[in-house]
Assembly symmetry: C2
DNA sequence: ATTATTATCTTGCATTATGCAAATTAATAC
DNA sequence: GTATTAATTTGCATAATGCAAGATAATAAT
């Protein structure tokens, strides 16, 4: 399957419903999706046969009348996906299963920054993992690639990433990447990948509309509308960083980095920030100021996208990110004139592994109803 | 038809394609929609038979080889829709055809502000127009209702409008309005209705993703994502007004109104602003300041939704709105650190008739693919 | 003038996905 | 042991589409 795996629209809706609402009986699925029970039976029997779903007894249905429902759950071993995260100075790779569990992962130094070297090294690592795990390549949905940085606008609809300026323009249409990996490859930036990680394996599996605030060296993010990542005209949707002009202080990791440097507290990189730094007054006041800026950003998000949930995550020290969420939870009014209750503001759960979101990209392509690109003959 | 009119998914896609790209041959439709020519033939023949589409000779195809294509256009008389706009002190109603032409309209004073009186009066006016035009009720898709104001959050998902505080909570689910009109009724606020007017009969018929800045007494707006209005958690998506705290000066009609009042230039209502006011220095400086605020808003929109187009419209004096657009066109850089070209920023074309957008609501429901709610069995 | 070429449109047949209704199944309730 | 109940399955009908061959109406070539 996988590469020949071509799930129909309602099969994808079944996958989405189980991911969002958990394991369900066929009857439940039929009710919630508004399709005939017979249809669910037919679709799920092939899906169970293909190893995508598993049947098990319903523990909750003890003592009730009627035919005991058989519960359908997503079979972790039914589908796998590979993920690659490209740091400026290293490559992280992984293979995940359908449950979002890391089956294997690896970290390697960048050979050099040429497109060929980077992609060859990444592909080699991924292929090794698939081999070592003894996976059938047909069960691997594809490989996702993510990287830090925003997109720059070019002629045509081609994008380029700042960290790798000498790369050929990697377009979504012309697949430059597939030759390296020998399977479908999709790519996006780290923040948008983090979005997908939460949508598929994190705190937003049951949320149709949410926004993600991704705090790393820069301030990135993304928006999911109707269960689908919304990218925008120049792939700039949800790139909140631009709301904080670089000439001012801003709630970014680079800003904290610079603040520490000015205060003569030398750190090599963001990850070097430890508990001893968090206790420092200068960091404390930075966190207080940044929290207020994040609050303003949440207000802007609430007034633009008005999402159900706002997720905060990134590579900043977890305690700093936790602090931002705590700040928002303590706030009773989001901002001036904001008459509503706060949207649900939560901490990201899968921002520790940036390659996980990348790996979710092919899964999305293969199993999400909104990504369905088959013949369009919806209903009658 | 109409009330029994139940267009399938691909039939709706055909309507959408013709609306967006203009009259097309069946072959063009088949190519652009990615469906078989035979399918287009079958669907369009019934649609022509139902009077939704008309066939005509293709003038451009003179002198070319091959079977001369027959061009399909939307038949204006194939579908009608009624619209109601509720001002705080008057009711405006209209009936439009499928081409968005006003077939009849009316303006009446509010009898009183009770729900019953307002709805009865509006329904009576609409029914009279349908009768006078001699329309088959089955050709009327329904009635749309719009009104100024934002939604307030209530328990459950019920909304209420400030101007009509004593109204029963009008939910989208439980249809309180249908009994008055005897046909399907949908409602939304004036800004979101204006969005639809541009999407169906204005400057955004070919734009999948756009944002609308609606300037009236207040600052409203909306966002269309993937050809569908995005509403948000508390129907607050695109309500940009909240980005300008009321404690400060803001680019709203009320703010201009107050500015004039302070300068001892008494006007009764927004519509009283005439050319003589536009020449005044105080208005000039207000416009300059407001234009900068609108520019900032465009920057925020570009950094959140990143839409293809931003539409500016409303009930402010047209020259003021034109001025905002002109300001944006002259600006070469949208804002600090904004590296991209500007989104397309245009003047609304259908903001003169607020009831028009309301009338587009039922048309959207009946003909838009994204609003298709039939059995979900998209493709194989 | 006739034939070839071309592109659009249409029709017959096969296929896919689904709904409906009746039948089957496995539990509890009486 | 029989009735009731709810989930699931199966047989049959139906809707929507694709494919391929054919019909149609124009221009181009001979």
């Amino acid at each position: 399957m996988a590469n020949d795996l071509n799930l129909g629209y309602n099969s994808r809706r079944i996958m989405a419903s189980i991911r969002a609402s958990g394991s369900q009986s066929r009857a439940d699925l039929a009710r919630s999706l508004g399709v005939n029970p017979a249809t669910v039976t037919r679709l799920t029997t092939t899906m169970v046969g293909d190893g995508l779903l598993t049947e098990e007894a319903d523990p909750r249905r003890q003592g009730l009348k009627g035919y005991p429902a058989k519960i359908l759950k997503i079979e972790p071993t039914g589908l796998y996906s590979a993920g690659v995260y490209l740091d400026p100075d290293r490559i992280r790779t992984c293979v995940i299963n359908a449950a979002g569990e890391i089956m294997a992962n690896d970290e390697l130094a960048l050979p050099d920054r040429s497109f060929q070297s980077v992609m060859s090294a990444a592909a080699k690592s991924v292929k090794e993992q698939i081999n070592d795990l003894g996976l059938d390549q047909n069960r691997v949905a594809g490989c996702g690639v993510s990287y830090p940085g925003q997109y720059t606008e070019d002629s045509l609809r081609v994008q380029r990433i700042q960290q790798f300026k000498d790369w050929p323009n990697v377009s979504i249409e012309q697949d430059l990447l597939k030759p390296y990996f020998g399977m479908p490859v999709k790519h996006t930036n780290d923040a948008k990948a983090a979005c997908l990680a939460e949508l598929y394996h994190g705190v937003c599996t049951d949320v149709e509309d949410f926004c993600y605030i991704w705090l790393s060296y820069g301030i990135g993010g993304g928006a999911v509308v109707g269960g689908n990542p919304h990218l925008g005209r120049v792939q700039g949707a949800g790139e909140w960083g631009g709301l904080f002009p670089k000439s001012n202080s801003r709630p970014s990791g680079q800003d904290l980095f610079d603040t520490l440097k000015e205060a003569c507290v030398p750190i090599g990189k963001l990850n070097d920030i430890g508990l001893e730094h968090l206790k420092m007054p200068i960091v404390h006041s930075w966190r207080e100021r940044a929290a207020k800026q994040i609050q303003w950003l949440c207000l802007v998000i609430a007034r633009t996208f008005d999402p159900k949930t706002i997720v905060i995550g990134g590579t900043l020290h977890p305690q700093i990110l936790d602090g931002f969420v705590d700040h928002m939870v303590l706030v009773s009014v989001l901002g001036e004139d904001y008459q509503h209750s706060l949207p649900n503001i939560v901490r990201a759960s899968r921002d520790d592994l940036p390659e996980l979101g990348a790996a979710a990209l092919p899964i999305h392509d293969v199993t999400n109803p909104t990504a369905y690109a088959g013949k369009a003959n919806k209903g009658w």
